[in-house]
Amino acid sequence: MKERGNAGAWYRWEAWGGFLFLAVACLIVGLLKPRFLSPANLLTIAQQASPLLIAAVAQAFVVMAGEIDLSLGSAAAVISMVAVMSAKSLGTVPGILMGLLTGASLGFLNGIVVTRLRVPAFIATVGMLTYAQGIALYLGGGVPIEFPPPSFAWPGQGFLGPLPAVTVIAAMVLIFVHLVLTRTVFGRHLRATGGNRLVALLSGVHVQRVRLAAFVLSGTFTGLSAIVLASRVNSGQPYLYPSLPFEAIAALAVGGISLRGGEGTVRQILLGVLIFSAMSNALNFFAISSYVQQMITGAMTVLALLFSRWQGLPRAKEGG
């Protein structure tokens, strides 16, 4: 970490350049619409970004392992239904635990299908997307489950001092995941498995177990994301957030994480999600309709990918 030449400077630019870009963009918006940079609005952005942030973390675990999870959306729906149902009969805390457990189980199922039955993750999780959607509809007979206990609203709507509870939860998730990725044997094994599965295997990594664990973790964090979303709308919804997996993947790509696996930091996840949330908030200030916002979001996802590829060109070539 000490000796750093020009190459070191470049690494730092790679790490923080995106945030600089985000800050400049926000500043420009702030000059045009001063209320954009008001503390109240910044807190709103943070609050709105938080569920997506947790879902992006869920997606990041599988992406780093070299896989993908497209089932997040309907998995979140099932989880919200189960959590609200359990909260109604058993209380808020057991409800939340049941939600997390459901998420972990769905992730485990994905993981087993991918690692043991060797179904490519893309197919396996698309199957799960439909399957879980069916469960979500079945559980409520096609309608939302409403009226959980009042305390259930806290994770999504409550405050801790001046900060939204959901933001505090998301921040804790980020710190925890950062530590797991950088400081644990598992984090290294995950990166190695996604970076090159054969190398990982020949270096003594239990590759199958790591991939399975990535799916279970993905499911668990999807569970957390679904719980705060359900808490925000105070109900279990069979169509809670259908675009969740795609927004999560787009956020990772915008943050600069290679979807080929083996790479990615919490900083990049945060950057990608903040860019998305800040942008959609800013577009509201300019009174741009949500339909047009969607078009912009889609275009930006592709552009961000092109940009990161252009940036990474000299290295990509060397890697063969």
Binding site: M1, E3, R315
Partner: protein, 499 residues
Amino acid sequence: MGVPVLDMRGISKRFPGVLALDHVDFNVSAGEVHCLLGHNGAGKSTLMKVLSGVYAADEGEIRIDGKSVTPRNPAHARQLGIRTVFQELSLVPALSVAENIFLERLPGRSAWVDRRQMFKAVREILKSLDIDVRPEEPVYRLSLATQQLIEIARAIAFRARVLIMDEPTASLSSRETETLFRIIRRLKAEGVAVVYISHRLEEIQSIGDRITVMRDGRNVGTLRVEQASTDTVVELMLGRRLEEQYPAPVGRRGEPVLSVRDLSLAGAYEGVSFDLYHQEILGITGQVGAGVHELAHSLFGHGPRPRGEIRIGGARLPHSPRAAIRFGMGFIPEDRRNAGLVLKHAIRENMALPSLRLRAAYGWLKLGEERRKMTELAQAVGLRMTSLEQPIGLLSGGNQQKVVVAKWLANRSRILLFAEPTRGVDVGSRAEIYRLIAEQVAGGASAILFSSDLEEVVGMCDRILVMRRGRIVGELGRGAREDQLLALAVGRADSGGGP
């Protein structure tokens, strides 16, 4: 003799740290079969890749029928009439024989394929080549040997001026080889120029017209087959390389640490038994296809489970890389870039991977200790780098290999399996890697060198096992000569070497 069909002059190609081709001249006349020989890394395949448009030459000229050409990419080379039959099959398994043959130029107007015309044409091609297969048959149902013949049919279905065949008989039986030779003779009669790469000297004698031997990126001799006795060819292939410093032998030999008994893997090797002794450097060598690399992977618990048994210190070794590592093994694979290193990760992360648990408590890493230990190791193996945090893909081949070795030193491995440890490594780093191996053995480890580089095997090993077609066919001690090894490895009838 008229103008040669193919004339390559002064071809040079440089890769980072290696001069892969050094002003190579090579030509083939119409109706000639010109055989190309040389060890792995001698430059044969690089030369052919330049010809077939995979690499661009840094210097030199290529003429086809007297006209100067520059193959820009493989498709362009094919347009120029340069066709290659690859060693690894490049057929699409799910498509039919006919579709594979016509893949790049399906007949018919517009986007629709004229299947009737295609099947008819293919039936004629197959008939003329004496290949007994229906054009409608999907390729995955065919035997490997038949697939190889289809591959050849594809290469000559369109008019070829130059046909490159890379070890075409590697998976053929002797009857199929005869079919292949008949095809080659017919092509000769049609005036095609054939480049034939092979290790099998008998084959070259029966099909070739001229022989060119390559060594260290240079053409070291072109001669007519009649003049090329086995001895002459062997001498040219071995030559005298740049003098390399091999470390002095450790010369001790203790108890067996690794015992292999009657190990067999279908299609790879058969009935392999040997012992590795404490502080011994054992060499295992053989030509391409002899089963040497497959054996290395099996010992490390990778790939299909072999029959037979492997024991370390009396205990039976379970079949998995994790078990092998737990028993103190380390593996430096032959394909460093795909099996040895995660190229996009930093040097430190690669080096620390197998030994993470040594520096962890309850799954949490001690990063300070890791940084200290890896810095120490980088110095010990003589790594040249700007920072441990550099992505490893940017290092030279030699430095990358040092990192792969350091991975296992960090894990204190006692049995080191080196597969082609100096392939793609420049001469300077080569000597350093030899020194590393010797140091480890002097320090109490044992090593096996799975290598097709005979000079290296002779220079480094206390004992050498030679494999041919999956079996151990000879054992030699220190002082063995390269020509003895080569004779055993290629199976010359009058081989005098070996007990």
